[in-house]
Symmetry: C2
Subunit: 321 residues, 2 copies
């Protein structure tokens, strides 16, 4: 029997374009040990798998060996839950369809489940974070891209093919900005880190408003920079938050008519800007909300610590692997 | 025990702004008897309930009495599945929140479940129609309004409050046409019967293209008129189909990133225009589709007969009541 008592730990792993982070987690959501490798260092997927297993080994030994591990959950870009594969991920070196879950499982000897990173974040939030006890919510991850994980009736929405919940690629502006996906006007083209930098550039190039942001190279502009400037009353920073929030709020009003969630939960650097971003989102969301949904959907910040969220989120999937 | 054998029939009822239709259905989806009353004839909800029960009585007797009825399903505008209520329906005379399911149940003596009309159509399609065997699909009803029923993992999506799936009220044009809901630019403002009539009016007023449609009073223009004109090569009719289809197709591409359905199923007069409407929808849908979903989502016409669909759809809910 695989009871939690006999197998009290799960492994969580998050694959990012730059770093791959993994850790051992107990049922209370405490990370007992973690490590990381550079994702880009491995040209061949086999070498990458070997490196993960090698780094995981001492962590697993420290909690009593593989017998103590219930399973492993992996959050990966373009991760497919049904098939345990990473499929055509633009940010990774391995092209085509990679059967990552199976490869890891064969080497590690315990079950491995895989999903995309935003879904892993949503599962983490539901298990350990702001969505505890919620049956219906939408997780929006604001980072290098804009991702989403949708939970309905307490279950992740994977859709027919395992790829449901790509809300960063809802088209919000016809013939709008080019998006990395090859189309135009996606939410991600405006509200991802690079999208926000583009907004900043547009504002600074088309106005002569003085701004602290003018001293920061546009490509290294972070949500933290925006926040710091906004606190000092910087008009450009405030305008960026307002424009970005308005777009998100309008998009969220459209998401609500789909699944009528209890909450929309924001994760990522931008979500830490507090009222600067939450106020404009809430205003636009309510102003554009269909009557029967008005005032019903909470807008929340993730309750997960940034550094732990990716590993915890993925580990939550490991319990069910 | 309530086996199908002992209780082999369900009652289906559809409440429309004009007519209320009901019938007795067997497990194979055959309507054994049906009747209708005028919805607007009853100022007091109690009188309306009495009239329904009175008209249902002979139908129920004809199949062996209430003992033979498994349950009743009702499709109603602004119907709330969780609460069995009709809430603030703009097209009905009874204001506020009407506990219709409970009222009927008390009078009839068998379980009554209620949902909105588009959800009832989706359940009907899943039980008897084009979505048989599908786990993930979206039903779009194109009629006086634009409604939707979303099925994920074989289950209707009701959301937190029972009102999920109002895709007719996704905003597709910022500051677009006024919608009956009080906002602007909803899909319904373009693709409902009145929306399409507005498009027709716009085209005919802004161009001098000759058209058979110019002879039809705009308020009585039907999908059938459009189809008949299109068959004769009428440029205005073809243009209306193209514009309407393009809008629907773009909206559908955004719906697909949400739940990655196997199919989108169209119901209503417009869905009978065949390629005239399906072609432009499919083209716009695929042109605007995120890469990973391209070519994956079928666009289908409902397989339910118009006259039966409402009663059958609602009855399907009656089996689970």
């Amino acid at each position: 029997m695989n009871t939690t008592q006999e197998k009290p730990y799960a492994v969580g792993m998050d694959i990012g374009g730059t770093n791959t982070v993994f850790g051992i987690v107990n049922a209370r959501g405490e990370i007992l040990g973690s490590d990381a490798i550079k994702t880009r260092d491995y040209e061949k997927i086999e070498d990458y798998i070997d490196a993960i297993c090698e780094h995981l080994k001492p962590l697993i030994e420290s909690v009593g060996g593989t017998d103590k591990i219930r399973g492993m959950g992996v959050g990966a870009p373009n991760g497919n839950f049904y098939r345990g594969t990473i499929e055509h991920a633009p940010n990774l070196r391995w092209k085509g369809v990679i059967p990552l879950a199976q490869m890891l499982q064969d080497k590690l000897g315990f079950p491995v489940a895989l999903t995309n990173d935003a879904n892993a974040a949503a599962i983490g939030e539901m298990t350990y974070g702001a969505a505890k006890g919620m049956k219906h919510f939408i997780m929006i991850t604001l980072g290098t891209g804009v991702g989403s994980g949708i939970v309905i009736d307490g279950k992740m929405v994977y859709g027919k093919d395992g790829f449901a919940g790509e809300l960063g690629h809802v088209i919000v502006h016809e013939n709008g900005r080019s998006c990395g996906c090859g189309r135009k006007g996606c939410l991600e083209a405006y509200c991802s880190a690079t999208g926000i930098a583009r907004t900043a550039k547009e504002i600074m190039e088309t106005t002569d408003k003085p701004s602290l942001l003018r001293e920061i190279p546009i490509d290294s502009l972070t949500s933290k920079d925006l926040y710091d400037a906004a606190v000092k009353g910087d008009a450009v920073a405030l305008d960026i938050f307002r424009q970005t929030g308005e777009l998100l709020g309008k998009a969220f009003a459209n998401f609500v008519v789909f699944s009528s969630p209890e909450a929309i939960i924001l994760f990522g650097g931008l979500a830490k800007a507090g009222d600067y971003i939450f106020k404009p989102i809430e205003e636009a969301m309510e102003a554009n909300m269909l009557n029967i949904f008005k005032g019903k959907t909470k807008l929340l910040a993730s309750a997960m610590k940034d550094t732990d969220a990716a590993v915890l989120g993925a580990s939550a999937l490991g319990w069910e692997a």
